[in-house]
Subunit: 488 residues, 2 copies
């Protein structure tokens, strides 16, 4: 066929509505120009196997360690959502969406306004990612809780949901998004997608669908409608659009599940089909990651939480500084100099010597170490405008001397404090606190929560909300968490 003929054909046929009803459409004939054929054919029924699992999985099936990690995931998420709830980004979202809210059945964490469940899911999801201080599934860099917990907390105020079912749905949602993320990471992320929003929408749909009692076919459709609504590009990082992504993933997944509940249909193989999600959105498709060992190995057990409100490249140094400070009861005035042996990335990414604003402090290893030594912490307050301008901290940061050193890995640091009285105090960190190897303790998670929620909720209420999260499994209604977490 001559080329002009072929072009005409493409143009003409392309417009055909025939594509509507032939599986794969008119275009099943044309070769995708972008996606190399997968090494092996996709296993059949990936979407259906996953849907079946989510539909059937009962709370009793979950191992104790997974349930515990689920409660930690929940507590950490509620804390960061409350902490972010009065950021300008959330104020804007609330102002923009209030005129369009449906029946105001769902709470906003940390705030007094109420919204319909879809808008509430969006806003809570935004709030929880504002400080980039939420949970991380390290294998995929998905922040799992935002898309999932935001959707089902809103649902729990719409219909009766026991705490046990809520925790089960949360874990199944996290499992769904992280497994789908594993299947396409890193290629999918490298090319530019914000994987928390693109995989997260599946997590939201699965968890919401679970609580809505979808049957297997409906769950397949919910996942299909979720696949049709990926959210977020990495180009938006640095703007409010970044926290938009988990929020919109939450509301999109809920939207998908609500439609599927009424039998709004989709394709049966939206994840694995030739022109389905994984082939369209990634050059890597490892479907075994999605369907192997369902109910046996749990990605949801691999969740981690940040102890410090900044990029984890600085976490080892902050960890070391706080440990030395506490062990030696050091004051700023006792310190002569701080020597750090660091990986090159530390200076590359966080080399700002004289930050002027709180946000800049997040990119200054000098400030991070100094404030950690003065205040014994690395929370959101330690990266405020006030903190980076504090004369004591400013004075101390001039004494921080990082040196790029061969053999130091990014997750390591070698820190030595020389005191004015001539002592040399040394700390080597192999894995910083918050890593999989050195997880934050429950107590540390509580301290983080309290720090974030202080000034937003009364102290007694903060205690109450944390207790509700720890005891989620025995709550008669998961809505208690939403109500206690909202400002009254």
């Amino acid at each position: 066929m001559p080329d002009t003929d072929r072009r005409t054909l493409m143009r003409t046929v392309a417009a055909s509505s025939l594509a509507t009803a032939i599986p794969g459409g008119v275009f099943a004939q044309s070769t995708p120009q972008q996606v190399p054929a997968p090494a092996a054919p996709a296993p059949a029924h990936v979407t259906r196997i996953l849907a079946d699992y989510v539909v059937k999985a009962a709370p009793e099936d979950l191992p104790a360690n997974v349930r515990k990690e689920g409660a930690r995931t929940l507590l950490n998420w509620v804390g960061v959502a409350i902490g972010g709830s009065h950021h300008q980004t959330v104020d804007i979202a609330v102002a923009a969406l209030a005129p369009f809210s449906g029946p105001q059945k769902a709470s906003l964490l940390g705030r007094t306004e109420r919204f319909d469940p879809m808008n509430a899911a969006f806003i809570n999801g935004v709030a929880s990612h504002i400080f980039d201080y939420d949970d991380t599934h390290l294998k995929t860099i998905i922040h799992p809780a935002g898309p999932v917990a935001s959707a089902i907390l809103a649902l729990a105020e719409l219909q009766p949901v026991s705490g046990k079912d809520f925790l089960n749905a949360l874990i199944l949602g996290v499992e769904t998004e992280c497994r789908i993320g594993n299947a396409v990471y890193p290629n999918h992320y490298d090319v530019g997608w914000h994987i928390t929003g693109t995989a997260g929408v599946f997590g939201s749909a699965a968890a919401a669908g679970k609580l809505l009692g979808l049957n297997s076919q409906q769950m397949v459709w919910a996942l299909g409608l979720a696949a049709s609504q990926p959210v977020g590009l990495r180009e938006s990082f640095g703007s409010m659009n970044k926290s938009f992504n988990p929020g919109r993933a939450a509301s999109n997944g809920l939207f998908a599940a609500l439609l599927a509940q009424k039998n709004y249909t989709s394709s049966d193989g939206m994840i694995e089909a030739k022109r389905g999600w994984a082939n369209t959105i990634s050059t890597k498709q490892d479907y075994k990651e999605i369907i192997d060992g369902l109910g046996q190995r749990y990605e949801a057990a691999l969740n981690t939480y940040k102890p410090f409100a900044c990029g984890i490249v600085m976490h080892p140094a902050i960890d070391a500084a706080i440990q030395l400070r506490n062990e030696n009861k050091l004051g700023a005035d006792q310190i002569e100099r701080i020597d750090l042996k660091v990986h090159p990335l530390v200076l590359e990414l966080t080399g700002k010597k004289t930050p002027q604003e709180g946000l800049e402090g997040k990119f200054s290893i000098y400030h991070a170490v100094a404030v950690a030594l003065v205040e014994g912490a690395g929370g959101e307050k330690q990266f405020s405008d006030h903190a980076v301008r504090d004369p004591v901290i400013v004075g101390l940061r001039g004494k921080v001397m990082p040196v790029v050193t061969t053999g130091i890995k990014p997750e390591q640091v070698d820190l030595t404090i020389v005191t004015k009285d001539g002592r040399s105090l040394h700390k080597y960190i192999e894995h910083a606190i918050g890593s999989l190897e050195m997880p934050m303790s429950d107590q540390a998670l509580e301290a983080k929560f309290s720090d974030l929620a202080e000034g937003i909720l009364p102290r007694a209420r903060i205690r109450e909300v944390m207790d509700l999260c720890w005891n989620v499994e025995i709550l008669a209604s998961a809505a208690e968490i939403a109500r206690a977490g909202a400002s009254s």
Copy 2:
């Protein structure tokens, strides 16, 4: 750096919140594995140039032919939305979303329910694509009106919008989505995206943003938030998920514009940045298609409308059959046989000899020609269950003899009817009715509209709605169209 080290680094750094604030993030260093470098660097400020144009373009700037095509686009869209408004798909969407609707300010075409503007935009967008009978921008196969008109018709009931401004916004929205579609078509479509949903969300955001009076920076953000919400995969074709896509593109774009109006920020270069929309979602990026000749050449003037409710591969044959029938006042009983010389694709795609249901009739050249000869039409009714079971049509379809013929292009047909009294009636079609070369007349568009709306709206109301569409430019309020188009 050894590989294990690099992997650790990737994993560790990947989780870093530093990505939040460094443009391009931590990952600016890694090379995308999927997208070959564009042949030429992207022009700077593509998103901003487009946004500036949309913000500044006044109704007075539009040439008469573009305004006229805009009115035709509107009329065709209102007709197909009314026609699809009582399909099961729409009933399901209405049932699923009614409990979540905000203030019921916006009408559904062809129905009595009212919804908040975002849900109304979604549902009208779904309805208008149900029959795959809406408009087509042939260069990209985008169905332009669905995402755009659905969003701004809802807005027109929320705030005062003159008909002149409405038409301007409609055209600017269509222009935006088709230009962005041109930039990535065909690669983007080939890989699996449903381009009506992925490019359409930009059209919706631009048009809604125009009516909301966004300034240039806000319009940049609206386009950025739109870029974050592409909708739809081709794998869903054949399910309700297909019409979901233009509907969700409409509501997503409106959502983006409403947030941007309150200064919810995004990146400034979401379309063209290294990890922006075009590089992430396509291997082809022709930015000149987006920014060259803005206000001079109009993609919106290249819109086309289907005269027949089936894939356009059958349109030449239906066109020929209707012409011969009318010219010769042929009855089915006079016909001995019908010989068709067709392109191979016709039999490949529409070779069903004995369709049993209406939808199957859309894949039967035999039925299509027979029903066209009997009824002189190829509308939705001609592809009903009733039509494919009609004994006269069933009898005649057995006499349709298509032969694949070298030299016949897909947009052509050579049709000869042999009558029982020995005549041989011949018609060759170079370009079927509905193509750019042989556009549907205004009268034919009205006939299509009436056919679709009959039984849903009273006849006088049908006339009224069509007149409102033709006269959109002089309407004091575009909301009149929404109110007249709804069932009362």
